[in-house]
């Protein structure tokens, strides 16, 4: 199989470059991550990428494969056009090869106060939540913080420091939507901002790439609706 992979090491002088690799590898049933590991183990130890769970749940290995942001570990090799071009997630600073600096992404996540706020005394047992109330959280809490969505979002490319991006906004809504959370007002105040939220123009790239099938655009829409309702 043939690959073209983005290479960059801050230590060796020179610009980032694309490197071609060819390796005997039966793609049947195998994923992009399997190929990266085979290349690293067999051909070039210096090829550098993140990975952990190898089953699409930890969010470590978001990369851009043939122009699309994906998780390497769940992306089948079969059917990919060769040479398979693998690049780091777009528009984030590259640390080395396929590894990007996610600091900005995490900062936006922290900014939405991604934790339950409820100041009432804790009951003896669980707080009750009906299955319907709980269902409001489905499609929100499953986010694995892989960054595939945010780095595919043109609004984020243009305003990476000020627009929170789809992943952080999805998590912002996850707590607004939680019947146990009492800080919706405060959360909406924070989001009511021309940049943090309103840079989203519903381009839907985020929905298209999310490997967990989540829908940040819809969550963003719901936040906007709540803001409108509140203004009335």
């Amino acid at each position: 199989m043939r690959f073209r992979i983005y290479r960059y090491d801050p230590e060796s002088i020179g610009k980032p470059r694309m490197q071609d690799y060819e390796i005997e590898f039966d793609p049947q049933g195998k994923k992009v991550l399997d190929a990266l590991i085979a290349l690293k183990d067999g051909l070039d130890e210096s090829l550098t990428f993140r990975r952990s769970c190898r089953e699409g749940v930890c969010g470590s290995d978001g990369v851009n494969v043939n122009g699309r942001n994906v998780l390497a570990c769940v992306t089948p090799l079969e059917g990919l056009k060769q040479p398979i071009e693998i690049r780091p997630l777009p528009r984030l600073p590259v640390i080395r090869d396929l590894i990007v600096d996610m600091a900005q992404f995490y900062q936006h996540y922290r900014a939405v106060k991604p934790y339950l706020i409820n100041l009432e005394p804790e009951p003896e047992s669980e707080r009750l939540q009906s299955p319907e109330e709980r269902a409001e959280l489905d499609g929100l809490w499953e986010c694995i913080l892989c960054g595939c969505c945010t780095t595919s979002c043109p609004s984020f490319w243009w305003n990476p420091e000020r627009f929170l991006g789809p992943a952080a906004l999805l998590q912002g809504y996850r707590f607004i939507a939680d019947s146990r959370d009492q800080a919706s007002g405060e959360r909406l105040d924070f989001l009511e901002d021309p940049y943090r939220l309103f840079r989203c123009h519903g381009i839907m790239n985020c929905v298209e790439v999310c490997p967990k099938g989540l829908n940040p655009t819809q969550a963003i829409g719901k936040i906007k609706t709540l803001l409108v309702k509140r203004a009335l």
């Binding site: 090491d9 801050p10 230590e11 060796s12 049933g29 690293k40 183990d41 067999g42 130890e45 210096s46 550098t48 990428f49 993140r50 990975r51 952990s52 769970c53 190898r54 089953e55 699409g56 749940v57 930890c58 969010g59 470590s60 769940v74 640390i95 080395r96 590894i99 996610m102 995490y106 922290r110 106060k113 991604p114 934790y115 339950l116 409820n118 804790e122 003896e124 047992s125 669980e126 707080r127 009750l128 939540q129 009906s130 299955p131 109330e133 709980r134 959280l137 809490w141 499953e142 694995i144 913080l145 707590f175 939680d178 146990r180 959370d181």
Partner: protein, 586 residues
């Protein structure tokens, strides 16, 4: 000079156990550093699927005494009953606490936490099936890990993400005073000095070729402990989960059987009835794994090679599968090419969980024989989570008890560390020679021109462990494995890496991880050879019976000369009567 930072507590590991302990300390306004080789939500806890066990009695009549009985029995009586009582007695409050933190548990119609049946759970000390495992769909670990991480953000825990811990710093009096570590991005070494150190580095199933574990599960904390001259406990006990996807290793949670799924062989027979007439598919994991292994051996396995069995859930219907097992459906379609709504899922026993680990007590203190007995705490050193051996899981862990272990003992360790810090306010001088030793170990990988590769040796080790230390064991097979492993390990001196960049050098990380894996594999083989009985997950074909007279005791392995020592199982609980060892049937 190596940069040095001083904290009250340093926690190595950002999985469920490390985060729970960090939270306790941060909320007490202590200065705590949490170092993790991956961003915390990438820790392996995220993969946990089925749930966390606590006798909430939301669905079936239940109480912690029954949970305790099941756990003692599940452990094949090797679990320490004081620790098991502590675990089960604190389970409900631990789960409620997680709910209060915001964990998005699935719910019952009455608004309470959803619970599902898991293997080995009974009412009334061995009676009808109990329904005890609390779940957030089939992504409970994700929910738990993210919730704990989020609480730590709120508590302002100081995170050192993508830092790799190298060695414990231990002085001549045996006090642990922190760790050496490497910042992965820059490749720079650091010293984290602290009066208390907690190891929460998770499991080590990467010693095997096929496992349900993440690539990062390389048992680094265990390697650190062995290098510090401390022992590992019960390393012969590794859980083989009955239902891993063949070759790939991905786990198909027990919740699938809890929700009504069952196993069949190639003849379509529901064979579990022959092995566990009462509990059938929900017998304990060791029992189900052996049953599958026997079906495969008898030529009743499925597929062209007859090397797996089928797990069927079509009868649950699409709606229930999508609501309760969405993650499993995704995994099965991605890695087995089977949509469980219409097709059976191929499964085979797969290395999954390390019951053994760093000997610790129910306060999370690491204990080791020194002056006056095997339960002597190592001052300043703590362990919690899968890397620790309290021992609550004994010879076989029950499903859902590990997530519980993380939060109960993570919290207990945090609380004890606070106490220790109060009693020991003055930092002891750092033994610089220890730091230098660690730096030399790191520098060793700067060497060029070796004849062996890290990936090559790792692969060979994994094959040896897979072939020689699986579900069934015997003296001859284990001995041959030990010989092979010795040869593989000897070649480590000739290994070199070919990437000498300082920046995010993952080749170097993998080399350091291999240095941890190899002694763990060795500890496993040596301990397994010595234990001439079958108990829980350790099945010796040459010694098929359990031998309580000789072997109702824990193994302690020291890497110096492969020395083995033993200590008694604590049969006395804290407040209730002992559950006397008896024959274990399901």
């Amino acid at each position: 000079m190596i940069p040095k930072r001083r904290f009250d507590a340093v926690i190595v590991g950002g999985g469920g156990a490390g985060l729970r302990a960090a939270l306790q300390l941060a909320e007490a306004h202590l200065k705590v550093a949490l170092i993790s080789k991956v961003f915390p939500t990438r820790s392996h806890t995220v993969s946990a699927q089925g749930g966390i066990t606590a006798a909430l009695a939301n669905v079936s009549d239940d109480n912690w005494h029954w949970h305790m009985y099941d756990t003692v029995k599940g452990s094949d009586y090797l679990g320490d009953q004081d620790a098991i009582e502590f675990l089960c007695r604190n389970a409900s409050s631990a789960v409620y606490e997680l709910e209060h933190m915001g964990l998005p548990f699935s719910r019952l119609d009455n608004g309470k936490i959803y619970q599902r049946p898991f293997g080995g759970q009974s009412q009334n000390y061995g009676g009808a099936q109990a329904i005890r495992t609390c779940a957030a769909a089939d992504r409970t670990g994700h929910a738990l890990l993210h919730t704990l991480y989020q609480r730590n953000i709120a508590a302002r825990t100081q995170f050192f993400d993508e830092f790799f811990a190298l060695d414990l710093i231990r002085d001549a009096d045996g006090y642990v005073l922190g760790v050496t570590a490497m910042e992965i991005e820059s490749g720079e070494p650091w010293v984290f000095e602290a009066r208390t150190t907690l190891l929460a580095t998770g499991g080590a199933c990467r010693i095997f070729r096929h496992s349900t574990n993440a690539h990062i599960n390389t048992g680094d904390g265990l390697g650190m402990v062995l290098r510090a001259g401390l022992p590992l406990e019960d390393m012969e006990f590794w859980q083989f989960h009955p239902t891993g996807i063949p070759e790939v290793g991905s786990l198909i949670t027990e919740a699938v059987r809890g929700e009504g799924g069952f196993l069949v062989n190639k003849l379509g027979e529901k064979f579990m009835a022959n092995y566990a007439p009462n509990a059938k598919d929900l017998a304990s994991r060791d029992v189900v794994s052996r049953a599958i292994a026997q079906e495969i051996r008898a030529g009743r396995g499925c597929g062209v090679h007859g090397d797996y069995v089928d797990l069927k859930i079509e009868h649950l219907g699409a709606e229930k599968i999508k609501a309760r097992l969405p993650g499993i459906r995704e995994l099965s379609m991605q890695f087995a090419g089977a949509d469980p709504i219409t097709d059976p899922i191929p499964v085979t026993p797969t290395a999954h969980y390390m019951m053994g680990g760093i000997p610790s007590n129910l306060h999370g203190q690491v204990v080791s024989p020194a002056h006056y007995g095997p339960e002597e705490p190592v001052p300043g050193l703590y362990a919690a989570g899968e890397c620790a051996c309290v021992s609550v899981h004994g010879a076989n862990r029950l499903g859902g008890n590990s997530l519980l272990d993380l939060v109960v003992f993570g919290r207990a360790a945090g609380m004890h560390m606070i106490e220790y810090l109060r009693e020991n306010p003055i930092p002891r001088p750092l033994p610089l020679a220890e730091v230098e030793k660690s730096m030399a170990r790191l520098a060793r990988w700067d060497r060029r021109g070796g004849t062996e590769t890290v990936a090559g040796l790792r692969g060979e080790m994994q094959r040896v462990m897979q072939d020689h230390c699986g579900v069934y064991r015997s003296e001859a097979v284990l001995l041959a494995g030990l010989e092979k492993l010795t040869l593989v390990a000897a070649r480590l001196t000739d290994a070199a890496i070919h990437d000498h960049s300082k920046h995010f050098n993952t080749a170097r990380l993998e080399a350091l991880e291999l240095e941890n894996l190899l002694p763990i594999a060795r500890a496993t083989l040596v301990s397994a050879l010595a234990r001439t009985e079958s108990r829980g997950a350790h099945s010796r074909e040459d010694h098929p019976g359990r031998d309580d007279k000789q072997w109702l005791r824990h193994s302690l392995y020291f890497c110096q000369n492969d020395q083995l020592d033993y200590k008694p199982v604590k049969l006395k609980p804290l407040t209730v009567e002992t559950f006397q060892p008896k024959e274990r049937t399901y």
